[in-house]
Amino acid sequence: MSTTTVAHHDEHHDDHPTGIMRWLTTTNHKDIGTMYLTFSLVMFLVGGSMILGIRAELFKPGLQLMNPEFFNQLIGVHALIMIFAALMPAATGFANWMLPLQIGAPDMALPRLNNWGFWILPPSAILLTLPFTLALFGVGDGALATGWTFYPPLSVQGGIGVDFAIFAVHLLGISSVLGSINIIVTIYNMRAPGMTLMKMPMFAWGWLITAFLLIATIPVLAGAVTMLLTDRHFGTHFFDAAGGGDPIMFQHLFWFFGHPEVYILLLPVWGFIPQILQTFSRKPMYGYKAQVYSLWAIGALAVVVWAHHFFTAGMPVPALLYFMYSTMAISLPLAVLFYCWIRTMWKGSMSFETPMLFTVGWIILFGIGGLTGLVLADVAADAQYHNSYFVVAHFHYTLFAGGIMGIMAGVYYWLPKMTGHMYNEKLGKTHFWLTAISFNVTFIPQFFVGLAGMPRRIPDYALQFAEFNMISTVGAFVLGLSQLLFVYIIISCVKGGKKATDKVWEGAQGLEWTLPSPPPYHSFTEQPVVK
């Protein structure tokens, strides 16, 4: 039996092409995962350098570096890149790399579809950024200047950049739907014999619910931007009162996608964070069932709370109350998750390698993001904070701290497994402290200027905000530059370093740690049996 498998293995799989063709044609989940993660890292730097331009402009009051239109374009493209081209591909990259290893599958269930899902991403990144280049040649006036939310009527008036962004979103949506189909099928159909749903690794749960959210909401976004496109060019009146439509309707459609999107970005991280915690606390995770049910509860609530993003746009009072209370209800399952995470560490024999540092920092900073979200969920308070820098600081605590820093924890956690080398622990820790401190230096002042009334997405501001903005800019540049250290650590880890053992971490639990580091090109051609 095993000999036939090996023969089959040789004849079929190890003759993959080399060079660029290997990556263009690959159906291997590890290759595709690597491409996703690399793409994500590159786009993270691209999106990050855009925001450094913004922060440089905001270093002091008045207009110094750029005109307001370009400022707006950078803001919108920064957000779209960070959300769709940095965070989501990173999570999908981990899913590709780790899900088959964690559930004992030979590969993802639909490998060619998987390849297509990745290769749609570079064209959409080109579509997003092409308008900048076109503007240099006198075609159009640059990228979309509406922010990432595309609100009409501004987006109906906007130039060629809006059209490009609409199609970029379409392509990114196709990619996400393909990825989600693949992940759902893999989780339902490819688990090792004996691994029931309630024995799955938490990461699989996080991604399963994420994939369901994507399937339910990404097509709605596609519909919304399609209506925008026809409003722009074909004379429909979806978002225009003269024809009986309503610009607010776009906000409803957009945020029906946009709010679940927050959980789409966070749920995969909530999946592997408990795994990192149990590894470095050297005990099983606390409350597995409670965590699974909480993830489901949050996934369900995610699609019924969208209107809290535009309380001030105008809606009936009963609607305001409903969206306020349902939003606040999310804090209950989230509190259960926080309790389980902390309780997993309780009385464990903890050690603080870089992934654990990032995870503990993540819990604290993401906690701040969650609590400030509770403030914004309050209708009365939101009237004051809406569209201020308080909101900016809040969602960077959830999406940078809660998203990107979680992803970084995952990178350090799995990098030795993926590459077969240990990363430089000392540099990793340096990277953590630089990131965590400069992140807070950047965004804590933004809470204050936001509470004092500084509006977001404006290139100029009143003199009283000058000091805080200066501090914020300094923090942002340190934060941005310390990510170069991250790149250096990853590259040097890929190239060489201390050999990693199969288990890598002393307390590691799960199937992926039973394989060699790095795992063979095709792992689990025979599925393991889980008891």
């Binding site: 036939t4 159009g140 099928v185 159909n189 399937i215 060019h233 459609l253």
Partner: protein, 310 residues
């Protein structure tokens, strides 16, 4: 190989087609933007971007090129899959993957249509009544009444004056739409009959059933084309007819697009049936198309009730 067929999953060899489809998508999307930017006109017929009108023609060719690449590569990709299927690479395990995948894909399509149904309900229930609800001294839409179908109150939109068309008539539920409903419902029955034929290994019933389904689908599309023609030439009902026109044409248009795709898929499996593909035990290709066809059917019922009847 047969010895481990049940616990060995088929991981296909690499393929360049997905990456090339993406190139086609890039070409088609950017070509579309160039074309539409170059050819966009205002209501009075003048160009919106006269300085960029030279983009229209190259944009059009980029679109065609992209579309050609996508169609060619999809054809080659699906041919590979069909070859793998008839050479027996796909066993029960792979088959289950395809089934779950198709179900999830159809769910995503449901969500896509939900966006447009959502827009329809929002306009009917909220935005049109709202526009008519304000006191006359604070609204520019004094004489506007909340009725459905509505073309909206009219007004100045981004510097252009939009006026509801006086000759406007909404679509009725009887006549062509009713015939279309009957056509699609019958096609649901004929494809099930074809499926029974396949399960009983009655090839003749399979092939005739599929042929009937295709014929009904094509007839549906012809009726819809006639309906659109009638709307544009005689009823004053166009894509630009306010809330009703936008939702009517976008919903029925996307549905018609899905019927077209479904009919193409039916033609493919019909040709495959004639060539002798599919067995009573192993015919996911058939079932996937059948599921898709039923989905298109159900969407039509929703359309018929909410767009035409109510």
């Amino acid at each position: 190989m047969a010895s481990h067929s049940e616990n060995h999953y088929f991981v296909p060899h690499g393929s360049i087609y997905p990456a090339l489809i993406s190139v086609g998508l890039l070409s088609m999307a950017s070509g579309f933007v160039f074309n539409v930017t170059g050819s966009d006109t205002r209501l009075d017929g003048s160009f919106k971007n006269p300085a960029l009108s030279y983009l229209a023609t190259p944009g059009k060719y980029m679109m065609y090129l992209g579309l050609a690449i996508i169609l060619t590569m999809m054809f080659k990709w699906l041919s590979t899959v069909v070859t793998e299927s008839i050479t027996g690479q796909y066993k029960k395990w792979e088959d289950k993957s395809f089934r779950i995948g198709m179900i999830v894909f159809i769910c995503s399509e449901v969500a896509f249509f939900a966006a447009f149904f959502g827009a329809l309900f929002y306009m009917r229930v909220l935005s049109v009544p709202d526009l008519a609800s304000y006191a006359p001294d604070i609204t520019p839409y004094k004489d506007f009444l909340s009725t459905w179908p509505s073309q909206g109150p009219g007004g100045v939109v981004l510097g252009e004056t939009y006026k509801p068309d006086a000759s406007f008539h909404p679509m009725t539920w009887s006549g062509l739409p009713l015939i279309n409903t009957l056509l699609l419902l019958s096609s649901g029955a004929t494809i099930t009959w074809a499926h029974w034929g396949l399960i009983k290994n009655n090839r003749k019933q399979l092939i005739i059933g599929l042929f009937l389904t295709i014929a009904l689908g094509v007839t549906f599309l012809c009726c819809q084309a006639a309906e659109y023609h009638h709307a544009y030439t005689e009823m004053g009902l166009t894509l630009k007819s306010g809330a009703y026109g936008a939702t009517f044409f976008m919903l029925t248009g996307f549905h018609g697009f899905h019927v077209t795709i479904g009919t193409l898929m039916l033609i493919v499996i019909w040709l495959r049936s004639i060539k002798g593909h599919f067995t009573p035990e192993h015919h996911f290709g058939f079932e996937g198309v059948a599921w898709y066809w039923h989905f298109v059917d159900v969407v039509w019922l929703g359309l018929y009730i909410f767009v035409y009847m109510l």
